[in-house]
């Protein structure tokens, strides 16, 4: 079946560097994508999202890029801080009807980001 997967299970960066976390998806019907951050003992926390009619969206220190041609999603974190250390998940949203009101969110396996001081 179709699935969401991550290229890198772990990523280690130095404090202050930029981080890039990648995600591949295979469901061409997915039209909404979300990045989540999960810290130990907590639930996934929403970071940023993007609809399939966009290829870039920026937030505070984070940018999500979407390349529909190769079905690739990335999360860029600028000036990475120790507090950014966590597992990052991409999720794809496959709407079950054309009205967009029912959807099924599928998660990738996650990437562990470690920020070294």
């Amino acid at each position: 079946g179709e699935s969401v997967g991550l290229h890198l299970p772990t990523l280690s960066v130095q404090e202050g560097d930029n981080s890039i976390i990648n995600c591949a998806y295979s469901n061409s019907a997915s039209d909404y994508f979300i990045w989540y951050k999960q810290e130990s003992g907590k639930g996934p926390q929403f970071i940023i999202d993007i609809r399939s009619n966009m290829d870039k969206r920026q937030g505070q220190r984070v940018t999500v890029l979407l390349n529909k041609t190769v079905k690739h999603l990335s999360l860029q974190i600028a000036a990475t801080q120790p507090g950014d250390s966590a597992v990052y998940f991409c999720a794809e949203n496959h709407h079950l009807n054309s009205g967009g009101s029912n959807y099924k969110l599928t998660f990738g396996k996650g990437t562990l980001l470690t920020v070294n001081p």
């Binding site: 003992g41 639930g43 996934p44 926390q45 929403f46 079950l96 967009g100 959807y103 969110l105 599928t106």
Partner: protein, 113 residues
């Protein structure tokens, strides 16, 4: 900030016992999801409600798992009888549907011995 509340945070039980997990979604959210997280399988969708109606529970073992929404402020996930392979963290998430993100609770860590 409004948040999804899950109880209990931790549950240890013996095989064969009934387990009930509860979730209070964010007020005004009309979709509620139950996910299970394990190291091996990651986040798996178990069940999904919209306006309290179950829409998709294909990820849930029907013989032992059941999910309900008695009212708009409470969602429950029940396992009866529980088995050691059910040990995992169970997350509830709520959202507004459409192109909006889900908001997760901090989960119930279940250990079945």
């Amino acid at each position: 900030d409004a948040r999804v509340t899950q109880t209990p945070r931790h549950k240890v039980t013996e095989m064969g016992q009934e387990v009930t997990m509860r979730c209070q979604p964010i007020l005004g959210h009309n979709t509620v999801f139950w996910y299970r997280q394990t190291m091996m399988q990651g986040l798996e969708l178990l069940a999904y409600f919209r306006n309290r109606a179950p829409l998709d529970d294909s990820g849930m073992p029907k013989d032992r798992f059941s999910a309900e929404m008695p009212d708009a402020t409470l969602a429950t996930l029940k396992i009866q009888p529980s088995e050691p392979r059910d040990s995992a963290v169970y997350f509830c998430a709520s959202g507004e549907g459409g192109y909006s993100p889900l908001h997760f609770g901090n989960g119930t860590r279940l250990t079945v011995t």
